[in-house]
């Protein structure tokens, strides 16, 4: 059983789509191929890989309540050329809290399957995509903290060492707890892909985090990112466009 994943994120690295793809791929049984789509030059490669594949998985972010324009362009080109025997799945992620907001885009893939004659087997809509993406950084932070903690203990800085080790545990703990829903949904979807079974439309979001907490964390994140990465103080985020 061969499964072809197409990563449709426009980002060159550190994308949530890539993270979701890799997480799902961990649980896939059988041959797996990933294509990082960069433009129409990749069409040939996609068609070549699809020749002997049974499953096709589109992994894409949600853009303005639908599929991004470059995904639509790719789907239009593939419509007439893909094998009608293919089982098609879609893994969507959006920045909003509710994974259900991906429903429209998942249904667009379903309609593409009707046009192309392929077999739509459902997919996954993941909410809080940016939060999941950022939470990954807990892993290296935790590792660094653990190493520093161990060093501090080795040099007899007992209090500092213990607090750094607790820190390391905290970062890993929150990464795991908040990402639990994603892992479980990715595992379930991967299991269905491996068996070429219908997955239905499944939705999930960040676990153990109510929407009000998500809103607060997300706001803090945007404010900090604007300031530390771009030097933009938070009041300037509200700027209105000056039409020249």
């Amino acid at each position: 059983m061969k499964t072809v994943f197409i990563n449709l994120t426009p980002k060159k690295k550190n994308s949530m789509s890539g993270y979701l793809l890799r997480t799902t791929k961990l649980f896939i049984k059988g041959e797996c191929v990933t294509i990082n789509y960069r433009g129409s030059a990749d069409d040939k490669k996609i068609l070549c890989e699809l020749e002997n594949a049974q499953n096709l998985v589109f992994v894409t972010p949600l853009y303005v309540d639908g599929l991004p324009s470059h995904v639509l362009e790719l789907l239009q080109r593939l419509e007439k050329t893909v094998s009608k025997e293919l089982n098609v799945y879609a893994l969507l992620n959006c920045g909003f809290y509710e994974g259900e907001q991906c429903e429209l885009a998942l249904n667009m893939v379903k309609i593409w399957c009707k046009h192309s004659g392929t077999n739509f087997c459902g997919g996954l809509g993941l909410g809080a995509g940016e939060m999941h993406r950022v939470l990954r950084w807990n892993i290296p932070v935790s590792a660094i903290s653990a190493v520093l903690g161990a060093l501090a203990l080795a040099f007899n800085f007992h209090t500092l060492g213990v607090s750094l080790l607790w820190n390391a545990f905290g970062f890993i703990f929150f990464w795991f707890i908040f990402s639990l829903n994603m892992f479980l949904s990715a595992q379930k979807t991967a299991s269905n892909i491996s068996k070429s079974k219908n997955n239905g439309l499944c939705y999930t979001t960040v676990s153990f985090c109510p929407s009000w907490l998500f809103t607060i964390l997300a706001s803090g994140y945007w404010i900090l990112r604007a300031f530390f990465f771009h030097g933009i103080p938070f009041w300037k985020i509200f700027k209105r466009y000056n039409l020249k």
């Binding site: 994120t9 426009p10 980002k11 994308s15 972010p61 853009y63 303005v64 309540d65 639908g66 599929l67 991004p68 324009s69 470059h70 639509l72 362009e73 789907l75 239009q76 909003f96 809290y97 509710e98 259900e100 907001q101 429209l104 885009a105 249904n107 667009m108 893939v109 309609i111 593409w112 009707k114 046009h115 929407s211 998500f214 809103t215 997300a218 706001s219 945007w222 990112r225 604007a226 990465f229 771009h230 933009i232 300037k236 985020i237 509200f238 700027k239 209105r240 466009y241 039409l243």
Partner: protein, 161 residues
């Protein structure tokens, strides 16, 4: 004049319209969030279309004329819409029972969305296109979203208004 049009077909510019925009050659959104964080309210790609967000959310009327592609907007129109998130803020607020982006402008535009060339399309596809149009308009803080379908392949202003 406080009206903005997006279309994937070539039309003459009507007198009362700010801009009529056939989005050929528009760069696609790269998902960098620069329009929220680096140069708030405008896209970082300065190709003359960096103010798309303001034009879509700070007008009294926005009219979108598009072919339906898989139950949504066509790729050229979607390319413009994808770059319009600078019209809202990165923060969240709850509207219509769901989380949406907080508004940057207090203007509540009325969206008139015309899908053309619909004669061969299924009811399912049209229903999905209507829902997708409404969802997009709610995200852009619309006052109202009026969606209509035209069977023929339109080419004149009379077919739309």
């Amino acid at each position: 004049m406080n009206e903005y049009w997006i279309t994937d077909i070539t039309l003459d510019k009507p007198q009362n319209v700010d801009m009529i925009y056939a989005p050929k050659g528009v760069a696609r959104c790269t998902g960098c969030f620069g329009c929220w964080l680096k140069t708030p309210s405008e896209c970082v790609m300065h190709d003359g279309k960096q103010g798309i967000g303001e034009m879509l959310t700070n007008r009294e009327t926005v009219r979108i004329i598009s072919k339906i592609t898989y139950g949504g907007f066509s790729a050229p129109v979607k390319r413009v819409l994808d770059r319009s998130i600078s019209g809202v803020l990165p923060f969240f607020s709850k509207r219509h029972g769901r989380m949406h982006h907080a508004v940057r402008y207090q203007t509540k535009p009325t969206f008139y969305i015309t899908f053309y060339d619909c004669s061969q399309l299924s009811d399912e596809e049209k229903a999905l296109a209507k829902r997708a149009a409404n969802a997009m308009a709610i995200n852009m803080n619309c006052k109202e979203c009026i969606v209509n379908f035209i069977d023929k392949n339109i080419c004149t202003l009379e077919d739309i208004i």
